[in-house]
Symmetry: C2
DNA sequence: TATAAGTTTGCACAACCTGCAAGATTGCTT
DNA sequence: AAGCAATCTTGCAGGTTGTGCAAACTTATA
């Protein structure tokens, strides 16, 4: 096979689209982080990215979408890794391991993600479109968890594990973004998942 | 004392306001449950409630708010109960107990809540405005949990417990609303919290 | 270069949401 | 009962969001 599966060559057109998309997303994040969501119009974002307002809506269905980004691919990979994980390990362990790639990508765009977490914290309406909370995202994970555990998706357990893990990831990300000199995101996620697996025991009062 | 602390007398004006608010909220829920969020305009909701569109916005800041309702009071009571709970019990136990009142109120408006859960499930953007996920709500609970446990609010543990408990409540409510012939909400919440306290052990495949 | 395919843009338009001021309703006082 | 003050409702004007359509433009391919 001739490198099938890998992108053959981005091409000028694709590169341009990526750049425009990134420019819009970054402009939106910076402006909103600075002024607040309501004080930034699509027109201003478009202007900062040097495209027309109409073009903004060719890339994002609404203003919010430019802020949260598109993580459909991340979720797909996460589901794939979870499905491929050895069946012996506990669900929480497998979920934590499957998050590695996502965490890596977040680290790779650390600055943008800090802006994003800041904006999301100040505008909770954006939250469900982030990594966790999205309806389709959750359903996909719930299904693969159910298959892994071997119970019916109605059983409640898969949905509980999924929602709870999402909440754990969220809090870890919030902490990570809050103080930039703190521990790595991976360590914070580890800590949260360990606490989950231990039944959330009361910590030593430090 | 002469019944101080209880509302002296609703008064015609207040009763009318309550009725208008309830009419708008119910009309919004029914219409959106039937047609979908995007296929219902504020004008139609107002018409169904027999008020002008402008009046709608006197009651709700946006269309979404009419669907999720206002639960600030519930959260206040929950925080108060949590703060007053005996300091000996585990956090999860105290949180579960503090949820009793909220669960009771949800049961009292079962039909509306089923509509609401249905609408929220189909429109995840509404999710963070519900009982769990709101920024202020979470912060208030995080603070009282931190005080209870005796750690700094930055410790991560309070935020984790809060977010995770919210997720547990959410999944229990979703299950409860999904099949109306199932167990009581209180039992489902109990089950979820028990699983949390046990460290989410893999269930028997039934 | 010519042609096809995809992208950007402007324009028109519906819906969302806010501020303001006028009119209606309610509560209170005399 | 009448009048005054407070509150609620309503209409209107206007800015912003988001979509459909068709014309211009850019890129890919032959």
């Amino acid at each position: 096979m001739t490198t099938a599966g890998t992108e053959p060559a981005p091409g000028l057109r694709d590169r341009k689209k990526r750049r425009t998309r990134a420019a819009l997303a970054e402009a939106a994040l910076r402006l909103v982080a600075e002024r607040g969501l309501a004080q930034v119009t699509v027109e201003e974002i478009s202007e900062a990215a040097d495209v027309s307002p109409r073009t903004f809506f060719n890339y994002f269905a609404c203003k919010d979408d430019a802020l949260v980004g598109d993580h459909a691919g991340d979720v797909e990979r996460l589901v794939a890794r979870l499905a491929a994980a050895p069946p012996g390990a506990a669900v929480l362990t497998a979920l934590r391991a499957a998050l590695d790639e996502v965490i890596e990508e977040i680290h790779a765009e650390r600055e943008l993600w800090c802006l994003r977490m800041d904006v999301v914290a100040r505008n909770p309406a954006l939250l469900p479109r982030l990594l966790a909370g999205n309806a389709e995202t959750e359903r996909a994970i719930v299904e693969v968890v159910a298959a892994r555990v071997g119970v019916d998706p109605d059983h409640g357990y898969p949905a509980l594990v999924t929602a709870v893990s999402g909440a754990a990831l969220r809090t870890a990300m919030a902490r990570w973004a809050a103080h930039s000199d703190g521990p790595d995101l991976a360590d914070l996620v580890d800590e949260a998942f360990a606490a989950l697996a231990a039944g959330l025991p009361q910590p030593d009062r430090s």
